[in-house]
Every structure is written in C-alpha cells, then in structure tokens.
C-alpha cells in the first residue's frame, strides 16, 4: 500500500534531520584520510604527504595494539554478559517483593548511579577498595589479609565489570520488570491451583515469559563489543594493570594526546569503527534470524 504522494512528505520530514547530521557528522569525516598520511598540521590534510598503509602496519607490529584489542574484547564481553544476568536476577527478586511502596522506592533508587559520571564515582570506588578501605576492613574481620585490589592485573577486569554492573544494573532491571508485569497473572493463578510453589512458577512461567526480552537485549548489546567504557577505566586504572586493563579508547587517548601521534590514533580509531560496523551488521542479521526482529 505504497502511496506515492506520501513519499515526498516523508522526505520533507527527514530533511532537517539529515541536514543536521550531514553538517556535523558527515562533513567532518574528511579527517579519516589522516590515517593514511604523514600528517603535518602546518600543511593540513591537503598538503601532507601520503603514507599508504604504513601506520596500519606499525599498528599490527606493536605488541600494545594486540593487547588492547584483546583487553577491550574481554572486558566488553564480560560486561555484556553481566549486564544481562544481574539485572534479570535483581528484577526477579524485586518482583517477588510484596510491599509495593518499598518496591517502587527501590526501583527508583537503584538506577540513580546510572545518571552520575565516572569522574565522581571513580574516586569513590577506589576509596572503597583501598588498603584501609571498608572492603579490606570487612575482609579482615573474616580473617583475610588486606590486599591492594586495584594493583592486581588479574583482578582488574573483574573489578571493572563489577563496578560497572553496580552503576548500570538498575537500568536493565527496569526493562525486565516491565516485561514481568506483562505476564498474564492468570497463569500464576492457574499454577497456584495446580499446587505449584514459588520456584516452580518462576521456572515455568516467569522465565519463559521474558525470554524474548533477554535475547533481544543480548543481541542489541553486540554493537557495544568494542566499547569497554573509557570513562570508567580511565578513572580506575594505573600502569600496574595496563596489561589487562588498557583498552582501545584509553590507549588511543594516551597516544594521541601525550605524543600527538594523530596518524596512529586515527588508524586505530578507524579500525575500531570498522569492526563496530561489522558487529552491528551481524547483530542486525542475528536478530532477524533468531527472533525474526529487525533492530532498525
């Protein structure tokens, strides 16, 4: 039921938005060529010499590059998984709570940290896990020796994921909660009459009821596989944990800003964009195949 005369109105509606995006995202993309140049700021992007793929070759020789791509992937994947499971568990627990007022308060408060920046939260997390901090004090009571959590490379990714989950779990909780309320109450009543307990209801009614939501969230988050969270890691890391905690974004930041290595930084940034684009395309088709859903 295509109506030709409508299409011209559609274009009219789209015009302001595309104009906006053209000026502020497409026009500045001429900067990408810098990854292929020996860039000299004095001569500009049109005057600088071409370097071919030299910066890309150097990028692949550097041990750092492999390390940061690997770290990025690990941290991002762990985050994606944790962001699916923790909110689900929390939402299920909250759903079992029978005091509506308390439930509403909790629901409102838990996603408050989502609105605060890592600039502020970073310092607090470090305080919590410091040598004399509350976590170590608690550990001492249980007989553990105090440890320097943020100095241990093998712990760092877990601390990053953990603190990020703490900051963000309230957000996905809300989505799950909404899905939970969408489940027909009659199902529970029927189950109750059949003598099913809490756990059986949970297993046979609640979980299947939100399966679609979980799958969808998983697929949507694939696009984030290369975003391990610059703000957070930049606020928490130190040279001792570079080997497991340095990610593409922090590395590019240091390289580009400290040493003004524009070309290398642009090259790595471009590679990241490319991989991100491929992953989004994959998740687009996955969503279509698995749950017959078009993300956009």
């Amino acid at each position: 039921m295509r109506i030709k005369s409508f299409e011209k109105h559609y274009y009219l509606m789209l015009l302001p938005g595309y104009l906006w995006l053209t000026v502020f995202t497409i026009v500045p993309m001429f900067g990408i060529v810098i990854a292929f140049q020996h860039f000299n700021p004095g001569k500009g992007v049109f005057g600088s010499e071409w370097a071919g793929l030299e910066h890309f070759k150097y990028m692949f020789v550097l041990k750092d590059t492999r390390e940061v791509f690997f770290n990025t992937l690990i941290i991002a994947v762990l985050k994606i998984i944790a962001h699916l499971i923790v909110p689900l568990v929390f939402a299920l627990m909250l759903n079992e709570l029978r005091r509506i007022v308390v439930k509403r308060w909790i629901q409102t408060i838990v996603y408050l940290p989502h609105f605060l920046s890592w600039v502020i939260l970073g310092g607090i997390v470090l305080d919590l896990f410091s040598y004399n901090g509350p976590v170590n004090q608690l550990g001492a009571m249980l007989g553990f020796k105090p440890t320097l959590f943020f100095a241990q490379a093998e712990l760092f990714p877990w601390l990053v994921v953990g603190s990020d989950v703490w900051k963000e779990f309230g957000f996905n909780t809300i989505i799950y909660l909404a899905a939970l309320t969408g489940i027909n109450p009659a199902l529970y009543e029927a189950a109750g009459m059949d003598g099913a307990g809490r756990w059986q209801s949970l297993w046979h009614i609640t979980l299947p009821g939100i399966r679609t939501t979980a799958v969808l969230l998983a697929v949507l988050s694939l696009g984030n596989v290369l975003n391990a969270g610059f703000d957070q890691i930049f606020n928490l890391y130190n040279p001792l944990v570079y080997s497991t905690g340095d990610i593409i974004d922090t590395w590019v930041y240091r390289t580009g800003l400290l040493n003004l290595q524009y070309e290398l930084a642009t090259a790595v940034g471009l590679l990241k964009s490319l991989i991100g684009f491929i992953l989004i395309s994959v998740s687009y088709y996955l969503a279509y195949r698995l749950i017959n859903y078009r993300i956009f």
């Binding site: 700021p41 992007v45 410091s130 100095a151 974004d249 800003l257 040493n259 003004l260 524009y262 940034g269």
Partner: protein, 569 residues
C-alpha cells in the same frame, strides 16, 4: 578526585587533522621586525613604545576559581594589561583561555588545527611539534636585538642550556623561561617529631633509612595505638612517577629520586657511559640494584603499600599518617600547609639524604627551561612578546605591581625568569637579616631576586626566636599563612640545599629526538609498567634484564644513536 576526560577524547582529539583552507592562510616568510623606524639589524629599544596601538592575541591560562582580581577587573583588563598598554601601547586579546588542567588540550587543538594565536606559552614537546610543523617565527634576530640585558644575563647564566632548548637547525624558535635550579633537587622530608619521639637520628644511609622507616611503621609514632602509619610515601596513581626523567626533570612529588641517587642510579636520564657515548640511565645495572632495594623495602611494608594506586599521595602526609617523602624544597606550597593546619605539632624537616656509598648526596639536575614563549609564523609584530617579557621583568624588579590586586599569573605571556640560585640566595639573606648582620636595605640592589624584599619584611611576623632553630614550634604560621608557606619552604626546604655540598648529575639532553616522537610513549610505558611491577613484587627482579633487551630492540638502540648525534652538535 582527579583527571577526567570523556570517551570522545579518545576517537576525537586523537584523530586530529586540519584543513589548510580553514587554518592560517599562507603567510609571508617571517624575518619580521617590521617596526617602523627601526633598522633591520643592530640593537633596538627593549622597552620601545609603539606609536600606533598594536594588537596581540594570545592563549592564556586563567583559572576559573581564581578570585584574585579586584572587583571590576578581568583577565583582559587589570593592572598588568593597563600597564602594558601604557608602557608599550600594546592591546592584548585572548584567542583562548583555559585552566591549568586544560591548557595542554587547548594547545594541542591549536597546533593540530593550525589555528594558532599570535603568541603562546608552551612546553618542550609542544615546541618541538610546532617547529616540525613549521608554525613558528624565527626569533633569533628578535632575541638578539630586543631582549633586555637582565634577561639575557639570566639566560646566559644557564651556560647555553636555555638557548639550546629553543634552537633548532641553528635558529631560535622561542624565548625560554628560566627557573631556579632548586626545583630539580629532590630531598627527604621527614617527621622530626616522630624521630625525636622514637629517639632516632635522620637516616644517613639506606640501612638507616630502612631502620627509621621500620620504626615509623611498627612503633606507633602517632601514638594512636594502631599500626596505621606509613614509613615512606610513594607516587600516586595516574600522574605519579617513581623518578623524574629527562623530559620532566623537576618537581616530582612522592617519588624515590633520592633513593635512586643513593644507589648512583639515574633512571630516566641520559648519561655519559664514561667513553663519551650516551646511555639511558634506566637500563644500567645501578638502576636494577636500586629497584631491588626498593622492592625489598616495599615487601617489608616500609613503603606505602598503596603506592601507585592511591589517588592522592598528599592525603597521608596531610593526615599525619606518613613519616617520610621525597620532593623539592617548596613543600610549604605542597601538602605541608594543610598538614600543619591539621596538626600544629607536625614537624616536617628536610634533609639532603640518604647518601650514596661514597657518603655523598648526588641528586639529578633539572633543565632550567620548561616554559617557552613562541610566536606564530606570520605575525606582523614578532618582537611584541619579547618586549612584553622585558617589560614584565623590569617592573617586577621595580615592584610596580601589587600582587594583592591579582597575582603575577595574570601578566599575559608570563614565564619565570629566576636567577638560578634564587632559593639559596634568599635563604642566606633571610638568615643574615634574622641574625641582625644585615638589613633589608642591604639587599636593595639585588633586584633580580624579585620576592626578596617582601620575604625579608615578613619573616619576623612568622618566625620567632631562636633564629637558628627551624622546628615547627618556632614558627607562628597563624600570623600570616601566605608568608609562612613561602618562608617555611625557603628556610626548611632550602637549608639542605645551602648546607650540603652537592654536585647535580645532568642529563645529556632534555629534549626529544625525532624518533622519540613516534616511539617514546611506548618505550616509556613499558619502562613504567615493568619498574612498578618489580618494586611492588608483581614481577621477579630479573625481568629487568628482559626489559633491557626489549627496550633496546623496540627502538631504544636507534634512539640512543640519535642522542649521540644530537650531543655531538
């Protein structure tokens, strides 16, 4: 809470480039000096006033929380800018302003987008970048003809070091500031009251240091009944460094500089290998030995267990939990003001210790110049910044400006020109005056020591008798905290410099070589990471040898060759 930046920095700033069409258009070759009525060569009047108003647009550091200016004044209209207008007929404009923390980003942006103000104060790495991009005016002639005799004198006294840092291919591309040598000497600050309480002497050797640190950790010097004290403070996370290096050769707070030099190790510095060839200090056996020593101290819990992870190393100092740290003379400006405000008994004293095996204190020495005034290529009046600096220095000597109406930082394009012995000289002068041997008037002629008059005037307000005892109980900081901060730094922090025979170890170079532009960050990262891991016991000490090999292979050898060529010139 500290350093923060957003995700966008990453992709954005990093991937910088420019449109020459939008940036500065093609400019005529410099060689300017087009001031009317002056000849192209020969000396010119360093203070000459322009007949027609001349405008200069600059990038300037302005701190938004700085409420120093009197009501009605602004960073563009205050005693300094009015005086400049009056004396030189120069109008100052701001191309941009930024706080100290964001100045580097703003300058990077200006360089990369080729959108420079007429003049700017930059650091060594930025200077090199701008020279490589061909963005700067050649100031060789300007300096020759316009620099005032006093400024030339101060620059000459650095024995070529200041000029060398701004000369590329025989041309001078910036006016170097000159700072006092004292900023580069890292001494030991220690809680004298703790030493006294535990009946200990200031530690002279590394063995003593271990003993004292152990006592500080184990014998409850703060007397609160819990073992919560730190022997030796360590660097903080993020910007903290275990030692100053040839690019950042001064003002390293809470590092281990003095411990390294007690082992005759100078990591981060370019040294002579004894045969006239350069060698990088971090890969020498002395450094390995020093790292092993630090590792030992750390494993025994005598160094702050939270070093390198702690967000602010000044906290335990202020808090009365730390007994020893290493830093330059000016710690009154650092944590000590808050430390004494917190605990009036906190008696921090400074010593040029520990000594090396030969019984000498042999610190590394800093470059005198870390700030540079540069002029954009194509600016019509490239001599204006030089004249402004002349004017600044002259008026600082003559005490024209009233710091209570806005600190000197509001002077546009200000860089410090300090006599290299400023701290030592002031320290001695104060002692003479306190002893009654001399009076303030006797120093009236020593004009380059700009703060000396006020130092001499204020000292008796805050320092009580006996005048040869510098313990905290003999000071009355409440009378004037500002004056105390400076006087305590100069006296307590300056005493070891005055009283100790010391010969500083210089780095062969204090600038980057071409290859370093692309490789240094990665080498330095490897070094920092490895050394921290060794000290903190995460990696075995022998990984040091692996590090040396990796360092050489990943560009270190090539860079060493470049350094060899650079010092031949």
């Amino acid at each position: 809470m500290k350093r923060k930046v957003n995700v966008m920095w990453t992709l954005l700033l990093a991937s910088a480039l420019t449109l020459s069409a939008c940036g500065g258009a093609e400019e005529p070759a410099e060689e300017a000096g087009s001031e009317a009525g002056t000849q192209e060569t020969g000396p010119a009047d360093p203070y000459g006033k322009y007949e027609e108003p001349v405008t200069i647009s600059i990038g300037m550091q302005v701190d938004p929380t700085d409420k120093d200016l009197p009501q009605g004044d602004t960073p563009l209209d205050n005693q300094y800018t009015r005086q400049i207008k009056e004396a030189l007929n120069v109008d100052v404009e701001h191309a941009f302003t930024a706080s100290a923390a964001n100045m580097r980003q703003k300058i990077s942006l200006a360089i990369a987008s080729n959108d420079l103000p007429d003049a700017l104060v930059v650091n060594a790495v930025e200077l090199r970048q701008m020279v490589a991009a061909g963005q700067l005016a050649d100031l060789t002639q300007i300096y020759e003809r316009y620099a005032s005799p006093e400024i030339k004198d101060i620059i000459d006294k650095t024995e070529g070091a200041a000029l060398k840092s701004v000369t590329f291919d025989g041309k001078m591309y910036a006016i170097p500031g000159v700072q006092a040598d004292a900023d580069g000497v890292h001494i030991m600050w220690i809680r004298q009251d703790w030493l006294d309480k535990l009946k200990l002497e200031p530690p002279k050797t590394m063995e003593d240091l271990e003993k004292v640190a152990r006592a500080f950790v184990e014998e409850d010097p703060d007397g609160n009944g819990t073992a919560d004290t730190i022997g030796i403070s360590g660097p903080q996370s993020g910007d903290g460094k275990m030692y100053a290096n040839f690019l950042e050769s001064k003002n390293n707070l809470y590092g281990f500089d003095a411990i390294f030099s007690a082992y005759d190790a100078f990591p981060g510095f370019w040294l002579d290998d004894g045969n006239g060839s350069p060698v990088y200090g971090s890969i020498l056996p002395e450094t390995k030995e020093a790292l092993a020593g630090l590792r030992d101290l750390y494993s025994k819990g005598l160094i702050d267990p939270e070093m390198a992870v702690r967000e602010a190393s000044d906290e335990p100092v202020i808090n009365g939990k730390s007994g020893i740290f290493f830093a330059p003379w000016w710690m009154g400006y650092g944590p000590l003001t808050n430390a004494v405000k917190n605990d009036a008994e906190a008696n921090w004293q400074a010593y040029a210790l520990p000594l090396n095996a030969d019984g000498a204190f042999k610190p590394h020495a800093a470059t005198p110049s870390t700030e540079f005034v540069v002029v954009r290529k194509g600016y019509e009046h490239p001599e204006v910044p030089m004249k402004m600096l002349n004017n600044l220095f002259k008026n600082e000597m003559e005490n024209t400006f009233d710091p209570s109406k806005g600190g000197p930082g509001f002077y546009p394009l200000r860089v410090v020109f300090a006599p290299s012995d400023e701290i030592e000289f002031t320290n001695k002068a104060i002692k003479e005056v306190l002893a009654g041997a001399k009076t303030k008037e006797d120093y009236a002629e020593d004009r380059p020591y700009k703060l000396l008059p006020s130092d001499l005037e204020n000292i008796k307000k805050i320092k009580q008798e006996p005048y040869d005892d510098w313990n905290i109980g003999t000071w009355t900081p409440d009378a004037d905290w500002g004056a105390w901060t400076r006087a305590y730094s100069i006296m307590v922090g300056g005493n070891p410099l005055v009283e100790t025979e010391m010969e500083g170890v210089k780095s062969l170079i204090y600038e980057q070589t071409p290859l370093m532009e692309s490789r240094w960050v990665n080498l330095k990262k490897m070094e920092d990471e490895m050394f921290l891991k060794i000290v903190m016991g995460v990696a075995p000490i022998d990984t040091f040898d692996q590090f040396v090999e990796d360092w050489k292979r990943q560009g270190g050898d090539q860079i060493t060759q470049e350094v060899a060529e650079a010092i031949k010139q």
